[in-house]
């Protein structure tokens, strides 16, 4: 133990110790010689004495590092290229990881985020197979997962495992300026429970009269960070609300989409005309809770399950059969299930591919240099350096390069991350500064990269050159493979967008607008629809439960009546529509008839659904059941097909070929969205008229009018920006690979100048010479292509789930990407290969 301490102390005073030893032995020498005896002492003896203490490896390491720095400095151009290549590869990874870190790894900046949970109601276990490649069930759960007030209140009063229950009602509100602001209605405990700090005023919603608390971002944007804001008022939905406070910049709230303003839950009915928040039995509240200290998610889940069963005996209609309350951790911005996980997996794979290209590139570079440094290596081993020492030396050099590359990558990635955050209007609480997660990740990447490009180079040291060729060809193959994947994915995305842009969606959305009217009495709804139809600029109007091209879709399982369970059960997109829907969207009715008043249990199916359920048969008059579980499929009433309409190709849905099912809806229902087809010439004149009509229902309430074309363009924009990002990656990879290939070819040519010169002198023709140079790379390019195509097929599975339109296997995309790659690779190889033709036999002979 003490010995270890002495050794450690020695390590820290190595230099002094070495000096003292030298002095001591010098004195010894002097004494010896004074007594007429020659002293045999030498550096060798001194080192023997020092080695007793161990830690010599540290000196060697220091030597190696110093030497590595010297070598790197001596070839500044090569070092700069290596740093740039590696920095680029690590940089894109750091940028993607920064998002991952911020959203998934780092808890929200709230008090005790680990004990925060989100409560959602589900219909119970034993359900919900995931649709093929799709996420329909998740969407459906999201659609109906909020809790009605009475249920939340019951849980709040009776749950002993929950320390606090935080309901949030989300509502769009209209300011007197016409601006629509997003409001979150919360209880007085909300801010205190989350440990929120105020940038101004107080964060209290306690007073009986409604007060508003502004979010930092909204205060900044709409009030120019006015320091005198407290006490001013805000007119929302016609009601004057005093501003009580502003949250601190660092306050994240509970989810990513932060509201503009928080308001007291109790004041919700005063602000929202016709509010059913406290009376509704089907939902209305997003609910979060804090676990009691000592309680686990599991105990809470069991208790809440028991409470819900108890509540069902009191309110059998409002609580679903076998309803469960699901708890999910809420202390993080994003949890890694479903879509978020897939997106990160995809992005991570793509950027790692770029890093792979960078590493292989660097590996080629280092191998080339290794061959050029062979003389140095021979000299070093000649003066006594063992092979292990040489390998260690090269590894140290690679590691120094790798770590410097990681530093460059961190800087580049951080800059890119900042730019992306600025352009995407990220929430203000996002703190982009890298933390130890990021540093560790960058260091890990540096180590991995060093292993990939450094180890082959190091073990190549002092070996014959032939093996270096094989290794370099492998490096070329790896670059081609990774490049191939990136190019294919880019092509798939671009083709997907092109298809979205040009394919027939099955209906005409060009002149259709979706109007989300304020909820009013049924008579008002009918009146509004009637007046809307009479407007001269409106050619037809209909209502539907979810507008096409929207972000919300409802899916259920459907089964042809009389079929055995499981066989040909399909997921259908489910929409309630009024009869005018088909006319308004110009969605053709192919067979049968439209809905008529008094239709019950009648449905219209899309051609695609008819084809799936009854292939080759007449669907009219057939029956099907629809539900969310096996029990529901058995129990729910049978629905009769009365008509068949055209299939739509709706984007924004995961499945390439969605199956649609339409139910009849009452025009007066409150929850429907109104769709209106406008006449071409009257677009601008008719919108003010429609707003006028909406004001007649509720003068203050919020109405959103959204042209379907806008929804379509938004989805197209989102897809385009993704394709642009992947395309940029693909092109960078291609550029790197070109550099790599050109480098390898150029090196080969310079190594064999002499041979080429002789061949030329003996009468070889230019074409023969070129093929001689290029031939050896055909195999690596071919192997790279093959590996790349297989890998791309795997990655495109991820892609298919995420991005619609990239659907099925696309031979054209694969062929185009492969051809482009081969052409560019050959061009990159040909350029330096031409030098072989200029080889002069006399010069090359004289050189030796």
């Amino acid at each position: 133990m003490m010995e270890l301490l002495r050794r450690l102390a020695f390590l820290f005073q190595r230099r002094r110790h070495a000096r003292e030893l030298a002095e001591e032995m010098e004195a010894h020498r002097a004494e010896s010689e004074a007594n007429g005896r020659p002293f045999a002492g030498s550096l060798r003896h001194r080192e023997d004495a020092r080695e007793v203490w161990g830690g010599v490896w540290l000196d060697h390491l220091a030597q190696d590092v110093r030497y590595a720095f010297r070598t790197l400095r001596r070839a500044p151009a090569l070092t700069a290229v290596a740093l740039l290549v590696l920095g680029l590869g690590i940089g894109v990874n750091v940028a993607v990881f920064s998002f991952f870190n911020l959203l998934v790894l780092r808890p929200l900046p709230l008090r005790d985020p680990d004990s925060l949970v989100r409560l959602q109601r589900f219909t119970g276990p034993g359900r919900a197979p995931t649709p093929p490649g799709g996420t329909g069930v998740r969407r459906w759960q999201g659609y109906s997962s909020d809790l009605p007030f009475f249920e939340m209140d019951f849980l709040r009063r009776h749950a002993t495992t929950l320390a606090a229950v935080l309901p949030v009602a989300v509502q769009s509100l209209t300011r007197d300026t016409g601006e629509i602001v997003l409001g979150h209605f919360v209880t007085p405990a909300f801010f205190q429970e989350l440990g929120a700090a105020a940038a101004a005023g107080r964060l209290s919603t306690e007073p009986a009269q409604p007060v508003a608390i502004l979010s930092y971002a909204y205060w900044e944007r709409a009030f120019a960070s006015d320091p005198q804001i407290i006490g001013r008022t805000l007119r929302l939905n016609g009601l004057t609300v005093p501003i009580a406070g502003v949250t601190a910049r660092s306050f994240s709230g509970l989810a990513i989409d932060s509201p503009n303003v928080w308001l007291p839950l109790d004041a919700q009915p005063q602000l929202v005309a016709g509010s059913r928040l406290f009376a509704a039995t089907d939902g209305g509240l997003n609910v979060w809770a804090r676990l009691q200290p000592g309680a686990t998610m599991e105990t809470a889940r069991q208790e809440l399950g028991a409470l819900v069963r108890q509540l069902r005996t009191e309110r059998p209609k409002a609580i679903w059969e076998s309803e469960v309350i699901a708890l999910t951790p809420a202390g993080f911005a994003v949890t890694l299930d479903g879509e978020a996980g897939q997106i990160f997996a995809l992005a991570g794979t793509l950027v790692l591919l770029l890093l792979a290209v960078a590493c292989a590139n660097l590996g080629g570079l280092m191998l080339a240099r290794g061959v050029a440094r062979q003389r140095e290596m021979f000299i070093r081993s000649g003066v006594g350096a063992g092979r292990p020492r040489l390998i260690r030396q090269i590894l140290t050099e690679s590691l120094v390069l790798g770590l410097a590359g990681a530093a460059t990558g961190l800087a580049l990635g951080y800059a890119a991350f900042r730019v992306i955050l600025a352009y995407t209007q990220a929430p203000r609480w996002f703190d982009p500064s890298p933390d130890w997660h990021t540093f560790c990740y960058a260091a890990l990447l540096a180590l991995a990269a060093t292993a990939i490009f450094g180890i082959p180079t190091a073990f190549q040291a002092g070996r014959p050159t032939a093996r270096a060729y094989t290794l370099r060809k492998l490096m070329v193959a790896a670059q081609v493979a990774a490049c191939c994947v990136l190019l294919i994915v880019t092509t798939l995305l671009v083709r997907g967008i092109h298809r979205l842009n040009t394919a027939d969606p099955g209906f005409d959305f060009q002149n259709v607008i979706a109007i989300r009217a304020p909820s009013g009495k049924p008579a008002q709804q009918l009146d509004f629809l009637e007046r809307l139809r009479q407007l001269p600029g409106v050619s037809s109007a209909a209502r539907a439960s979810t507008p096409p091209l929207g972000n919300v879709a409802v899916t259920f399982l459907a089964r042809a009546a009389g079929r055995a369970p499981g066989i040909r059960d399909v997921f259908v997109y489910d929409t309630d529509v009024t009869p005018d829907y088909f006319e308004t969207l110009r969605l053709p009715l192919r067979r049968g008839r439209n809905f008529m008043p008094g239709d019950t249990h009648a449905v219209i199916v899309s051609e695609s659904l008819a084809q799936r359920l009854w292939p080759g048969e007449d669907p009219l008059g057939r029956q099907l059941t629809e539900g969310d579980t096996e029990a529901e499929l058995e129990r729910n009433p049978r629905l009769t097909v009365i008509g068949v309409c055209g299939s739509t190709r709706l984007i924004g849905r995961s499945q390439p070929d969605p199956l649609e099912l339409y139910h009849p809806a009452e025009e007066a229902s409150g929850h429907l969205v109104t769709l209106a087809r406008l006449r071409d010439d009257a677009q601008s004149a008719v919108l003010p008229a429609i707003r006028e009509l909406l004001r007649a229902i509720d003068p203050h309430a919020t109405a959103e009018i959204q042209p379907l074309r806008r929804s379509f363009e938004r989805q197209l924009e989102a897809a385009s920006s993704r394709a642009a990002a992947v395309g940029a990656l693909g092109l960078s990879a291609l550029a790197l690979a070109c550099l790599g290939i050109a480098g390898v070819v150029s090196f080969t040519v310079s190594q064999r100048t002499r041979e080429f010169g002789i061949r030329l002198a003996l009468g070889a023709r230019p074409a023969q010479m070129l093929s001689l140079v290029l031939r050896q790379f055909y195999s690596s390019i071919a192997a790279g292509l093959a590996a790349g195509i297989v890998l791309a097929a795997l990655v495109s599975q991820l892609l298919r789930a995420q991005f619609p339109g990239t659907g099925s296997f696309d031979p054209l995309a694969y062929t185009a990407a492969a051809l482009l790659l081969v052409a560019v690779a050959l061009a990159a190889a040909l350029f330096p290969a031409r030098r072989a033709l200029r080889a002069d036999p006399l010069v090359s002979l004289r050189n030796d």
Binding site: R6, E24, M25, A27, E31, R46, A49, R50
Partner: protein, 103 residues
């Protein structure tokens, strides 16, 4: 010099008073009547090992010839080690003697 004997000899020579490296080599040479010579390449690693094991400490001092030299001084642990090594050597020596006499 027999293997393993050098540390014992150094410990023994250091027992009465601290000495420096050259003096240790001299002393061993003299006391063995010129039979045993200590090479520098062996002496200094051995001294370093003694310091590392904690049996001796080293400190600067001035030699008889007025040179700045390092003096090695036994620690209590060193004295214990000396006793142990002496016993060990006695046993070994006796065993070797026994064999030589009988055979």
């Amino acid at each position: 010099m027999p293997t393993g004997a050098l540390p014992l000899l150094i410990l023994h020579i250091l027992a009465p008073a601290p000495l420096h490296g050259y003096a240790i080599a001299q002393r061993i040479h003299l006391l063995s009547s010129g039979v045993l010579g200590v090479e520098e390449g062996v002496l200094y690693p051995a001294l370093q090992r003694l310091v590392l094991k904690g049996w001796a400490t080293a400190g600067w001092g001035t030699s008889d010839t007025n040179r700045k030299v390092k003096f090695y001084r036994l620690t209590p642990a060193g004295r214990k080690q000396l006793a142990a090594e002496e016993r060990q050597y006695e046993r070994l020596h006796a065993a070797v003697q026994t064999i030589l006499r009988r055979a």
